[in-house]
Amino acid sequence: MTLPEGVSRRRVDDRERLATRGEPVYGEPTDGPWRLWDAGRSKLGAMLELGLDTGLTGGEGVLYLGAASGTTVSHVADFAGPTYAVEFAPRPARDLVDVAASRPNLFPLLKDARRPETYAHVVESNLDVLIQDVATRGQARVAARNRRFLAPDGRLLAAIKARSEDVTREPAAVFEDVLATLRDRYEILATARLDRYHDDHLAVVARPLAE
């Protein structure tokens, strides 16, 4: 498993940790031009730390759903190409805008990821990667509806949060249901539990099925 170009491992405080090059945004530690990317605060960071084959190589066109305050998407914009960041809640989006202001390839949008028709007039088609980290019910439906932005050989990288679907059920059972719904529109390439970094989260790598 190689890291995407623009992502590196830096030894800080005697530990190897992920890092990207860019302006620091949330008080993260830096090492020269590198800013550390804490897998404990980022599901995509955790996927890379765990060696999941994300297919990321650097320079991709990205749609990021659930950008929150921009912690993770700021790292993505450091190594990716055009990066569209969708967030629905105004409070975190306030910070996201600040993060985006200094990154010319990062485009923030205050939109509901469940309603892609409200941003399809801005987000381009044929993107390489759809990253999804939305803490809402119906995570599989969100991925299905946003499939329209992906190139035929693009990748869905989703972090599925069990508690958002149903707090009372076993995470494993929740994940099975979500994967079953996802398979209507995607081929699942890999899955991995992120529990070492994020409790009750499942990482999914998938490729869109032909229409």
């Binding site: 055009p82 809640a89 105004p90 409070r91 989006a93 306030r94 996201l96 805008v97 985006a100 202001a101 010319p104 390839n105 990062l106 485009f107 923030p108 949008l109 205050l110 028709e117 409200t118 941003y119 399809a120 007039h121 801005v122 987000v123 381009e124 088609s125 044929n126 809402t136 019910r137 329209r148 932005f149 508690r163 149903d166 707090v167 009372t168 009750d200």
Partner: protein, 281 residues
């Protein structure tokens, strides 16, 4: 289907540099299917090349999203959220400082009482020494904070019914504001399943349950509602479930319609009466 390659693009009717037009287009526009907007923008003459297009897109999205965030944050339900949190903060700090005042006044005066009421009487004293002056002044700060909390509560009682009439009728304005705050907004509350509304505010207990350390919580902040608190313990789970179900419906009516619907309130009253009647059997 006519060939209008940029018909639905955000930049269709936008002159480069017109921030207001760009904002309106990004906020209110939409289309079913995305397209290769950068190529089309160049083709249509909106930008000389794709790099210029991305620069304009960046400027437009940052500007539009900043304005949209401001507008959403200024919305009435968001103001309610700030208010209820400020009220809790003002009450908490008033109580904390009242403890300090009681400690201090207990060393200075004979009949010092505790709590905010004690601070109120200390604040009315005539200070005779420099140290007493400071203690009395600190007590005045406690009074100010307690009054601030009262003013915030009064604002919530006035403003909440306009934001969520059915929710307020069912839960009272303060609990209604708390539920909206815990969900993050009326829109997000309206989208939550009833089981989640039932345990809003009991996140700690819920996570303890999920990690196997505790039984499942039967209720969160709705515990403060008379229909839960004053139902006998054996039936409290049923009452909480019934209340959460109707609160969820009330939030949805408030978000999507906004009119008062007496039926949902009557249904809740009847359901609770049935549950409570079990106690008499």
């Amino acid at each position: 289907m006519t060939d209008e390659p940029t018909a639905s693009a955000w930049f269709q009717d936008v002159t480069p540099g017109d921030a207001d037009a760009a904002r309106d287009a990004i906020d209110d526009g939409g289309t079913t299917d995305p397209a290769d907007w950068p190529a089309r923008a160049v083709a249509s003459g909106f930008a000389a090349d794709e790099a210029t297009y991305y620069d304009r897109l960046h400027e437009a999205t940052v500007t539009a999203t900043r304005a949209a965030v401001r507008e959403r944050e200024r919305a009435d339900d968001q103001q309610l959220i700030h208010c209820i949190r400020a009220m809790d903060d003002a009450e908490r700090t008033a109580n904390e400082l009242a403890e300090r005042v009681a400690e201090w006044a207990g060393a200075l005066f004979d009949d010092a009482d505790t709590g905010v009421a004690g601070a109120r009487s200390v604040a009315e004293r005539d200070a005779e020494t420099a140290a007493e002056r400071r203690a009395v002044s600190l007590a005045e700060r406690v009074v100010d904070l307690a009054d601030e909390a009262d003013d915030l509560r009064a604002y919530i009682e006035r403003a909440a019914p306009a934001v969520a009439p059915n929710l307020c009728r069912m839960a009272g304005p303060v609990l209604a504001a708390r539920l909206i705050a815990l969900a993050g907004g009326l829109d997000t509350l309206a989208k939550k399943p009833s089981g989640t509304v039932q345990v809003l505010g009991a996140e700690d207990a819920l996570f303890a349950h999920l990690s196997g350390r505790a039984p499942s919580p039967k209720h969160g902040v709705i515990y403060t509602h008379d229909y839960v608190r004053n139902t006998r313990p054996a039936d409290r789970g049923s009452a909480a479930r019934a209340l959460a179900g109707k609160l969820t419906i009330a939030a949805r009516i408030d978000h999507y319609a906004g009119d008062i619907r007496p039926s949902v309130h009557e249904e809740l009253d009847e359901r609770i009466a049935t549950i409570r009647a079990r106690a008499d059997q």
